[in-house]
Amino acid sequence: MYVYDEHDRQIISERVNQFRRQTERFLAGQLKEEVYLPLRLQNGLYVQRLAPMLRIAVPYGMLNVAQLRKLAHITRHYDKGYCHITTRQNIQLNWPNLEDVPDILAELAEVEMHAIQTSGNCIRNVTSDQFAGVATDEIIDPRPYCEIIRQWSTLHPEFAFLPRKFKIAVSGSEEDRAAIRFHDIGLQIVKNDSGAIGFKVLVGGGLGRTPVIGQVVREFLPEQDLLTYLEAIVRHYNLNGRRDNKYKARIKILVRAMGVEAYAAAIEQEWDKIHDSQALLTDKEINRTKSFFTEPDYESFDEKSCADTLNERAQKDKDFSNWLAHNVGKHRVAGYRTVTLSLKPNGIAPGDITDSQLEAIADLAEEYSFGEVRSTHEQNLVFADVQTAHLRRLWRALTKLGFATANIGTLTDMICCPGGDYCSLANAKSIPVAEAIQNEFDDLDYIYDLGEIELNISGCMNACGHHHIGHIGILGVDKRGEEFYQIQLGGAQGNNANIGKVLGPSFSRESVPNVIRKLLDVYVESRVEGEAFVETYHRVGITPFKERVYAKAN
């Protein structure tokens, strides 16, 4: 994991001091609300429905135990004892006091954390694959490049007042687990024919009101050119992105208006002016950053005998076996596995976690996973380096803590935004919908029979809950002051990215679980052997689902 040097520490601590002075001026009435607004946003501070909300950056999802313990302390002392993992791998506090925020930021700085640019019309926290460095399909570890981007984008003087927010994601594996096709810039690490490392660059993806799949503007960008090329893209956007209408201000609208070919040509032209500037990355810097992401001290094991022992144990215990099948994943290194902690047990808002749970997770990470944890954009946590021999003990401990619900990748592993319970943008609540679905579908055997299904819920069209890319997407809408829910089918993240189609007229909150039940019935009746929900949907089309769900009304 990256470790700050004196430069990083100084920059982050000066930022805390700057924000402290700004907040003092605001509280003293010397700074107008409209001017303080972008300043607090660029330090992660929103003012929400009931209280301020502070979004803390978790750069590309990496957390160490000191950070987890500090977060536990902060949620306990400055908040109500719990926090929330967001769909961009960050952590949100729901109830801090505005005047405490400079102190919270100072405490975060002690453990090399910050809330810089987690909101506002600027370059946001860079996200990546939660299995970076350990995935079996990895081409190159994306984290060093993420860190290089984090430093470049942090307090960038030219790009703090962009037309709209700007999100970058990096994937280093064959399968995209970072939703790079739905980011303003998506970077796919590739190797060319001569073995050189570079990036396939996608621009103009995004969710929100106008969901768009990002398009390739460059097939191969040599790694040294990363920052100059990003600079060309963001400068062009800063000068040419629309500023007359905030709903048309994202880069996706600019790319679409220009057409991707003309757009790519304009970027090349912009890049031509700066591609040999001092921002050109040096091998020394790439290697320096890579030196922070070396292998931990793995022990050597025989994979086959590890796997055999594990299978033997699994056969004797159905619950353990279910957990292995759903929450435990392959690892690049023999005798190791990844473990996903499900933050989606029945009865808890998806992604919520308490102070004492954070501490317990820190202890377990120390014991079983080299003291590191990752957050995922599916709002779960990951231990990336667990020995197979430790899995059973870890499973027991996680079961006690409530993190061993064996539902990863299934219907109840929902992505869900905070919605109308917290967020002032929301049109409708989303947490109670998630809860109702979890209550309706609490039979694990049924869930397993359904196989892989992604169900995503957003409380408004800003789409923080990624409803456009759920196999089943649920969107909260406001109809004359009442909360209704529109359902979409066929969305997908990953390599076969797709945007879901609206099923038809929206439903009341109470009827949502029953509608989901009908959709699943159609799938179960129509599927052919081994076919996943989304595959059946693409084969049979939307009509049979529509007919079943709206049958009564006809």
Binding site: H7, V35, L39, L155, F161, L239
Partner: protein, 167 residues
């Protein structure tokens, strides 16, 4: 009368900023005063053979294309950038292009709806003069110019990014 912070100190402002709908300065006005005028006015005055680097400068609106300024920079000592709305960040890129790509060594002055907490970033982007309200707290504003003692990126104040300076 607005005040001027230039190169980090409070200075006498000698230039008049001609707003969009004001009449262009006459030949006499140019003899006796110094004017920063909108780009269109600048082009008109130059076509009439009026003004020189000592008494005539130009300011760009956020929507103006900086590249159009390129052929004129050799005749200019001062370029203004106007903030219509503080949230409109185009001036940052305009300043940086004028400094770094068009190699302008003269004064880049901002006016309008920018605020104190943008000054550090503006300075990094190549702005060296700030036109501020008469009643503004210039001391506090000047302090903001040194909010940070180091930065990650290369910019106009530091041609080398931090990664090239780290030992």
């Amino acid at each position: 009368m607005p005040k001027l912070i230039k190169d980090g100190i409070l200075t006498q402002n000698e230039w008049q900023w001609l707003v969009t709908d004001e009449a262009a300065p006459s030949a006499e006005a140019l003899e006796t005063g110094k004017w920063i005028v909108p780009f269109s006015v600048y082009l008109t005055l130059k076509s009439e053979g009026l003004g020189n680097a000592k008494n005539l400068g130009v300011w760009l609106a956020s929507a103006d294309n900086v590249q159009d300024l390129a052929p004129h920079l050799k005749d200019l000592n001062i370029v203004g950038l106007n903030f219509e709305k503080f949230a409109d960040g185009r001036s940052f890129s305009q300043a940086r292009i004028i400094r770094e790509q068009l190699d302008f060594g003269g004064e880049i002055r901002v006016n309008g709806d920018f605020y104190q907490d943008q000054m550090f970033y503006l300075a990094r982007s190549g702005v060296n003069a700030f036109l501020i309200e008469d009643d503004a707290n210039s001391e506090s504003m000047i302090e903001s110019l040194s909010d940070f003692s180091d930065s990650y990126q290369a910019a106009c104040d530091e041609p080398q990014p931090l990664f090239r300076r780290r030992v």
